[in-house]
């Protein structure tokens, strides 16, 4: 009869014990060792994964708050999912205030690292890579926080994702900084999210560099308040290798920055060069939709103070070549579809949208109503404007999370 009592006492003691470090080293059943550590960690603990290669046939998952998972550097600690047999992602995080850092995830069958419903998730100095190069059979997303808030992605690298390398979906209060995305379909994508700063990243050799999207029929929509600042968006001319049907499969190869159906987006201080399609493309959602609550239009998008060079020489979107030819062979850095109206499903037409401002040369396709194909374009110059600096303050994350991510 004493056993339960003792168990309870031990439990209480464990609850009051100081945070500890759980060490995991290579060898033996790597999955069982890592998963056991992920389950037995207590809030405040550090899980230290020693240098080495960890072959994993199933996904790992973490559901304990305030845990730091730390490798010895992305070149040293490698979680290898090449032989994965189950789970939709390599690592799944469902708890709050989690920091995962200093390791690599290779060849996950689905997504690389996903957080769902986390308040406080920092992904720092990670490499997620499909080592066989870009292929449509690679997993969808490299880093994938979704339905989360207080999201930090810092100094990460993602290569080869068949959808977006870094994808933040249906989340709020987000910083993506100093990271690199290459050879993905989309480099960095902020989707159905609020309040995001995408700062000082490099997106190169993707089909599309940085995307800011909003889609219908989702629990969180009305994407807004996104700033793209000081990013290097270069030569995103990779062939689009996404499976058809997915939204990014419609992103034309050669797109530098694309803003779709979002409100209040600032694009400033970026270096946007060598993207063969568009430097910046600002568009409405293109498909038919039945969601009455959805607004498919881009609104209040400001493009100011960027460096544009060598973009727009070979646009791949339908009708793009003809438009470029009419403009002397090259599209100007900024293109807006000129859609300012849409039909509310089951209702009447609604005018909204507009307030698209650029201090760099741009055109509007003047398509008018949502759903009009680009082949109906009546291109006209976008008036060049001098734009005051954006009023919004920088995104700030909880200081404790930032401190652990340093």
């Amino acid at each position: 009869m004493h056993r339960p009592f003792i168990a309870v006492m031990l439990g209480l003691l464990a609850g009051t014990a100081a945070a500890k470090t759980i060490h995991v080293s290579p060898g033996g059943d790597a999955r069982e060792k890592l998963q056991t550590a992920f389950i037995e960690a207590a809030p405040g603990d550090v899980i230290h994964i020693a240098a080495g290669r960890y072959p994993l046939a199933d996904g790992l998952s973490l559901d304990v708050d305030n845990v730091t998972v730390k490798g010895e550097g992305p070149g040293a600690t490698i979680l290898d999912f090449s032989a994965q047999k189950g789970s939709g992602e390599g690592v799944l995080i469902t708890s709050d205030a989690v920091v995962m850092r200093d390791l690599s995830v290779q060849n996950p069958a689905g997504n690389g690292i996903k957080s769902k419903g986390s308040d406080g998730i920092a992904l720092v100095n990670l490499v997620v890579e499909w080592t066989g190069g870009p292929k449509s059979t690679n997993g969808a997303y490299g880093l994938y926080p979704v339905s989360s808030k207080n999201v930090l992605i810092d100094r990460c690298v993602v290569k080869g994702a068949s959808d977006a390398g870094i994808y933040v979906g249906q989340s709020a209060n987000i910083i993506v900084r100093a990271s690199r995305a290459e050879q993905n379909v989309a480099g960095i994508e902020i989707e159905n999210s609020y309040d995001a700063d995408v700062i000082g990243n490099t997106a190169t050799n993707n089909a599309g560099g940085i995307l800011v999207f909003d889609l219908p029929d989702l629990p969180q929509q009305g994407g807004r308040n996104v700033r793209l600042i000081g990013n290097d968006v270069t030569a995103n001319n990779h062939v689009n290798f996404a499976a058809p049907g997915n939204i990014v499969a419609g992103v034309p190869s050669g797109t530098g920055i694309m803003v779709m159906a979002n409100e209040q987006v600032l694009v400033t201080g970026n270096r946007v060069t060598g993207n063969n399609g568009n430097g910046v493309m600002i568009v409405a959602y293109t498909q038919a939709f039945t969601d009455k609550a959805y607004n498919p239009l881009p609104r209040r998008v400001t493009v100011a103070g960027n460096e544009f060079r060598n973009n727009g020489s070979a646009p791949a979107f339908a009708g793009g070549k003809a438009i470029a030819a009419a403009l002397g062979g090259t599209l100007p850095p900024v293109m807006w579809d000129g859609i300012t109206r849409y039909v509310v499903p089951g209702g009447s037409e609604r005018a909204d949208g507009g307030n698209i401002a650029s201090d760099a040369p741009g055109i509007s396709l003047n398509l008018g109503v949502q759903g009009t194909p680009a082949s109906a374009a009546r291109p006209a110059p976008l008036p060049s404007q001098t734009i005051p600096p954006a009023p919004r303050a920088a995104i700030v994350l909880p200081a404790a999370l930032e401190a652990r991510a340093r």
Partner: protein, 355 residues
């Protein structure tokens, strides 16, 4: 195995075990036997009540025996949707076993694992006990078990059976932040017999005299196709694909209460399916199962494509056939405009009530 066999030979002598309700509440026992839920021959202890569901989750063809134990003097309260309200102290038990031959699914069963959902004061806790060396031991981190049986074609079939890790239990058994039972809803328990029996024996209160919801049996061809398909999807997908579940962010919601065609997947484009879309444009394209992502993902056993993401390693041919039949029967071009609130959907619980 040997120990179980020895125990079986001695059954006449062994006293009935007593369920350790105190231990269930206090700690995660290292061995299933510590809780006293079953005797050495696997027979339930007094008070451990077997139950069945109209439509169960497909688990690679495992035979699953379900039991519930309620602390003496307590009872569950009726709920018309979602699981019954079980009191603290309740344990729900699911025992997984594989038959030697898939053509005789109830015979020569070899146990693999036993899953417990224990209702403790702070909430439900999920534990899995895996058969190792003749006893069922706690495995928090999950495990792969190689199961060899004769398949439905009579040929040897190797099943790479995956025992879920403790977090994966929560992934499915999730309602917001909390863990919740999935199976024992009034609708899925309603076989015309179980619920009144529970009420009569004092284990259930509040059962209405009429108007009980009833979930269809997915495999009963006499029931309406719509009700069977919705029951199958509710049980095999709806535990994650609902507004409070793990897959809430997909916008594809397949729980029995969902009514909106777009959220049921009809003409709905994928969001984060990645290569799981298989190059198809819609979760369900009415009339075209071969053009529906839902069927594509049910037909896969490859991680990153297959749905559910875990819980099976085989393709459920009969389930796929049912969903194909259901999508084929939908008129092409249906539901391109949203219905009035509360309309459409045709959830399983609306049909076949009080049979």
């Amino acid at each position: 195995m040997k120990r179980a066999l020895a125990a079986m030979l001695l059954v006449g002598a062994a006293p009935a075990p007593v369920v350790r309700g105190d231990l269930l509440l206090a700690s995660d026992a290292p061995r299933l036997a510590d809780y006293g839920l079953f005797d050495g021959a696997g027979r339930p202890a007094p008070g451990v009540m077997p139950y069945s569901l109209n439509t169960p989750l497909f688990s690679d063809g495992a035979a699953k025996a379900r039991f519930v134990w309620l602390p003496p003097g307590t009872r569950a309260d009726y709920r018309s949707s979602g699981p019954l309200a079980f009191p603290v102290g309740t344990v729900l038990v699911k025992r997984f076993a594989f038959p030697a031959d898939a053509r005789a699914p109830d015979r020569e069963l070899t146990p693999v694992e036993t899953r417990l959902l224990i209702h403790r004061p702070a909430g439900w806790v999920a534990l899995s006990y895996v058969e190792e060396g003749g006893e069922a031991v706690l495995k928090r981190a999950g495990k792969r078990v190689a199961v060899r049986i004769a398949g439905r074609d009579g040929r040897p079939l190797e099943i790479d059976y995956a025992v879920p890790n403790q977090n994966q239990c929560k992934t499915c058994h999730q309602a917001g932040e909390a863990i919740t039972p999935i199976g024992p809803t009034a609708g899925n328990l309603n076989d015309g017999r179980q619920l009144p029996m529970w009420q009569a024996s004092g284990r259930l209160a509040g059962l209405p005299a009429a108007g009980l919801p009833r979930m269809a049996r997915w495999d009963d061809a006499a029931e309406p196709l719509e009700a069977r398909a919705r029951a199958y999807l509710a049980v095999n997908c709806g535990h994650c694909h609902n507004r409070a579940g793990f897959a809430s962010n997909s916008g594809l919601w397949l729980d029995p209460d969902e009514r909106e065609p777009a959220h049921l997947g009809i003409n709905k484009r994928p969001v984060a399916a990645g290569r799981g879309s298989g190059g198809l444009e819609f979760a369900i394209l009415p009339g075209r199962p071969d053009k529906s992502i839902l069927v594509h993902r049910m037909l896969s056993a490859e991680p990153g494509v297959m749905m559910p993401q875990f819980g099976r390693s085989l393709i459920h041919d009969d389930g796929v056939a049912l969903i194909r039949q259901w999508i084929s029967a939908m008129p092409a071009g249906m539901a391109v405009t949203p219905p009035a609130a509360g309309g459409g959907g045709g959830a399983a619980r609306q049909s076949g009530q009080n049979r």
